[in-house]
């Protein structure tokens, strides 16, 4: 038990640091740039509408959206006043998130070993990639990673769909990979696909205020960072888990 917790937490800590490093190199500059569009400091298609006109149009179109004062202004204060503070929080939450992922992943691996599935380093990496599919890639098919300032559907509905998709992907992958007989494997694939047939909550129209090039680059990069970090997490966990516990 102790060995299990420590393996997952050490691996999660290391993966979280790697994630934060990659994020600062690839992703963070794009978030900060997007916030300048969100704040109206930069305007995409300058001349078509003033920031005020655009904000008014957006406010009218989406009264529930959390883009007005209290939702976003706080970040800009933080961004300008305390860059180091903000980055430290990102490191902290990267570590926390990947420790959480690591614990879930190792619990699933332990379950697999209990039923006689052997996991070596390459399986560990594959399991890490499966975790990436469950927690990032498949939810992103319906709810793409968003830059600040991107309007989107009701938060609770998105969170429910996200969680359901992550769970369905995990369970579906398990049965697709380890199910007995064709039926179980096929059922696994059905479970995997089900949330996407149901469909993610989405708005009826597009209203993003950051340039599409920036948004697509952000989505590609954040998925890439996730993929690399998850693969490292999976490999590290198996290695630590199978090493002798410290005396």
């Amino acid at each position: 038990m102790k060995h299990m917790l420590s393996s997952a937490l050490v691996a999660g800590f290391a993966a979280g640091l790697l994630c934060a490093l990659l994020q600062f190199l690839l992703v963070q500059p794009e978030i900060v740039l997007a916030e300048r569009y969100e704040a109206g400091e930069l305007v995409h298609f300058q001349g078509l509408a003033s920031p005020e006109e655009r904000a008014a149009a957006m406010a009218q179109a989406m009264p529930d959206m959390d883009m007005t004062a209290e939702g976003s202004e706080h970040h800009h204060d933080e961004g300008s006043e305390g860059g180091a503070h903000r980055q430290a929080l990102t490191v902290l939450f990267a570590v926390l998130t990947y420790c959480g992922y690591g614990l879930v992943l190792l619990a699933a691996m332990n379950l697999a070993e209990q039923v006689g599935i052997k996991l070596g380093l390459s399986q560990g990496i594959l399991w890490g990639l499966a975790g990436f599919l469950a927690f990032q890639m498949m939810p992103a098919l319906g709810l793409q990673p968003d830059l600040p300032g991107t309007p989107s559907a009701d938060l609770t509905a998105r969170q429910i769909w996200w969680a359901a998709t992550a769970a369905a992907t995990g369970v579906g992958l398990w049965f697709a990979a380890y199910g007995q007989g064709l039926w179980q494997r096929a059922a696994g694939l059905v479970v995997l696909v089900a949330p996407h047939l149901w469909g993610a909550p989405e708005l009826a129209s597009f209203g993003g205020i950051v340039p599409p090039e920036l948004a697509s680059s952000f989505a590609a990069r954040s998925l890439a960072v996730g993929m690399v970090t998850w693969a490292v997490l999976g490999g590290l966990i198996v290695t630590l888990w199978h090493s002798d516990p410290a005396p």
């Binding site: 933080e78 619990a107 989107s152």
Partner: protein, 54 residues
């Protein structure tokens, strides 16, 4: 003998469940909880890991 195996197995199961729950709690706190402080602190990480943020 059987009884011992069964109880050993169920304790492994309980431990695994516990580890999974701790992990999920961490993930949900970092990614989902909507208190303003937690949201602001986790903001950039939430965006880049694709959690629904705001």
């Amino acid at each position: 003998m059987n009884l011992i195996q069964t109880s050993a197995r169920s304790s492994v199961l309980a431990q695994t469940l516990f580890v999974a729950l701790v992990g999920l709690t961490l993930v949900f706190a970092a990614g989902f909880a909507q208190s303003q402080g937690l949201h602001d602190a986790a903001h950039d990480m939430r965006h880049s890991t694709g959690f629904p943020c705001h």
